[in-house]
Subunit: 245 residues, 2 copies
């Protein structure tokens, strides 16, 4: 038995929930001739995209990784592409070993959204104070209790810490595009989309700096949000410790 680690990209538009690994599992089971279990760094919501998700699985099949990559890309739907495949340490675990993840959220502010981008941005052609949003984005950096930014079902789950560390939280404005980029130790369900929705509220002038800080205080009961649409969200990369030499 060998453990294989892959990175994959997918267009989340047509996928509901945790559909991508299931498709991957079915395809790998075909290659292996028996059921294969795929573990990923985490789930992405329906409609959320990935430029570089990490996953792993065990195979008996001695197929070289580069041939496996080609075989998978032949068998998988074009919405999912394997970008790399390599042998991994037998104990490698995409979720437990992840040190951090980077997400990008893309907003298009122009009056008319290109039909070719409709599934890959959040089209928001209304006034926003981007200077306020940029300043607010920085408030998320550091260690915070993100209960106010968790999905309703996860926020209510007892006993699981909602504390996460955000290494970088930045909003960039370029012409008619706003890009929010966040790198952190881990993310709660819907957390990035709730952060973006809250930043947009701030950009509309509906939220003061004090109200934003209150959301980030432990034990806060008020929910932040609303949640921004899935289409604008991309999982950009998952960080792991450097491979042992």
């Amino acid at each position: 038995m060998r453990r294989i680690r892959i990175t994959l990209a997918y267009d989340g538009t047509g996928f509901h929930g945790w559909h991508v690994p299931r498709v991957l599992q079915d395809t790998l089971s075909e290659v292996e001739g028996s059921p294969v279990h795929v573990t990923a760094s985490g789930r992405t919501d329906a409609g959320v995209h990935a430029l570089a998700q990490t996953a792993a699985f065990d195979l008996d099949n001695p197929i070289p990784p580069e041939n496996l990559l080609r075989a998978l890309n032949r068998l998988l739907p074009a919405e999912i592409r394997i970008l790399s495949a390599a042998e991994a340490a037998p104990e490698f675990h995409p979720r437990y070993d992840a040190m951090g993840k980077t997400y990008e959220y893309r907003i298009y502010r122009g009056p008319v959204c290109s039909p070719f981008e409709r599934n890959y941005v959040y089209h928001h052609p209304y006034p926003l104070n981007t200077e306020v949003m940029k300043a607010m984005a920085g408030l998320f950096e550091g260690q915070h209790d993100f209960s106010a930014f968790a999905a309703a079902d996860e926020a209510d789950a007892m006993g699981r810490s909602k504390v996460r560390t955000i290494f970088q939280s930045e909003l960039e404005s370029s012409g008619e595009r706003l890009t929010y980029r966040v790198r952190g130790s881990g993310f709660l369900k819907h957390m990035v989309r709730n952060i973006v929705g809250t930043l947009i509220e701030a950009g509309k002038g509906n939220l003061s700096r004090e109200q934003m800080l209150a959301f980030l205080e432990a034990g806060g009961k008020r929910k932040a949000g609303p949640r921004a649409p899935a289409s604008g969200l991309f999982l950009m990369s998952v960080d792991y410790p450097a491979h042992p030499a």
Copy 2:
């Protein structure tokens, strides 16, 4: 009655045949409250995209063009976007008045095609002699009988001239991308896709310069091709005489 001229972009992926104008017609009829007939510069095949198609129609409704644009973009599916709308001369006709059209055909040559580009390129990860293709592309410029590059049903239609004038026919290579750009007085059904398919055959070494020239001779009976997939083809623009001052 006033004539309105619009430019529109559409993602042809989900559209079959002449579906776009029909959707447009239904939406305009809703706005007008009675049937509206839409004329475009020409048809695009199922799966072919447009960055700037031109169409026109008559309305009794006195709605200003900029409000009409907003109303249409609210009512139309996001795959179709109106880019501009303006009053036109009552005799303006998008097909008869067109002086030329520009198409672009996009080929991606890398081993793995991004899931986000799968519907917007032709993925061709096999060896091609691009120098040969570039030289061959130039042969199409000028006035030729394009019978060999017409769709089978159109090629057999008697009495309609297959002579067209190509102003520019160029292949550009940049990294893993090949872009074929062609501007001409008009195009037969499937003509651009048949030209690209034939250029690819030349790039594979299956077609000599003499064979290519034979396709461009009047009265040639042999069909060129095969036809390249629709996904890579974009209608870039339609040219009209400058508006009278």
